[in-house]
């Protein structure tokens, strides 16, 4: 899983059948210092994340498993909304 920030919503009317009823969010990947790390991506959201939320998400085919039908053409899904993040500087 990786950390990210929800930066927007993506609305799509005409989409693949298995995507129907699923909320799509724009996510900016972050590193452990909460700095931007890579390009934004679109992720499934089943836990009602909102714009501005710090979240963690899963990528690859594992992401599709958040839906009831586990085999899905999905490659990113939000699986947790972060309340608190603590990092100990050990480097």
């Amino acid at each position: 899983m990786k950390l990210g920030r929800v930066t927007g919503r993506v609305v799509s009317t005409k989409k693949v059948e298995s995507f129907e009823g699923i909320k799509l969010m724009l996510v900016q990947p972050l590193n452990d210092k909460l700095e931007n790390a890579g390009d934004p991506l679109v992720a499934f959201d089943t836990i009602q994340a909102g714009v501005g939320d710090l979240i963690y998400y899963e990528t690859s085919k594992e992401a599709g498993r958040v839906l009831v039908t586990t085999m899905n053409p999905c490659d990113a899904a939000i699986v947790g909304i972060v309340d608190n993040l603590s990092i100990e500087e050990t480097k």
Binding site: D32, S60, R65, T70, I81, V82, I87, E88, E89
Partner: protein, 89 residues
């Protein structure tokens, strides 16, 4: 599996199904010498590891679900599968 050091923890209330009561930690992949290598990521803990521990991290969904004894519907890729006591080279 890879070697990693635990550098932090993440607390979340709203979580996907199956994540309730699971501990999520921030892990930094390391080389056998202890040097950090690559970017940190998040993993579910199964061995009661804590910040500062060197651990074994498994990054494959099927194996992760086997360890967590979760069904195919569980979204997961990375789990902490062991705490490293020492490495000899």
């Amino acid at each position: 599996m890879i070697l990693a050091k635990i550098i932090g923890n993440v607390v979340a209330t709203a979580k996907a199904t199956g994540y309730e009561s699971r501990k999520v930690l921030v892990v930094q992949p390391i080389q056998p010498s202890g040097e950090p290598k690559g970017n940190s990521f998040l993993a579910i803990d199964t061995v009661q590891a804590g910040v500062g521990d060197t651990v074994l991290v498994l990054e494959e969904g099927g194996s992760a679900r086997m360890i967590l004894e979760e069904p195919d519907t569980f979204t997961i890729k990375a789990v902490i599968a062991g705490i490293v006591d020492h490495i000899t080279m």
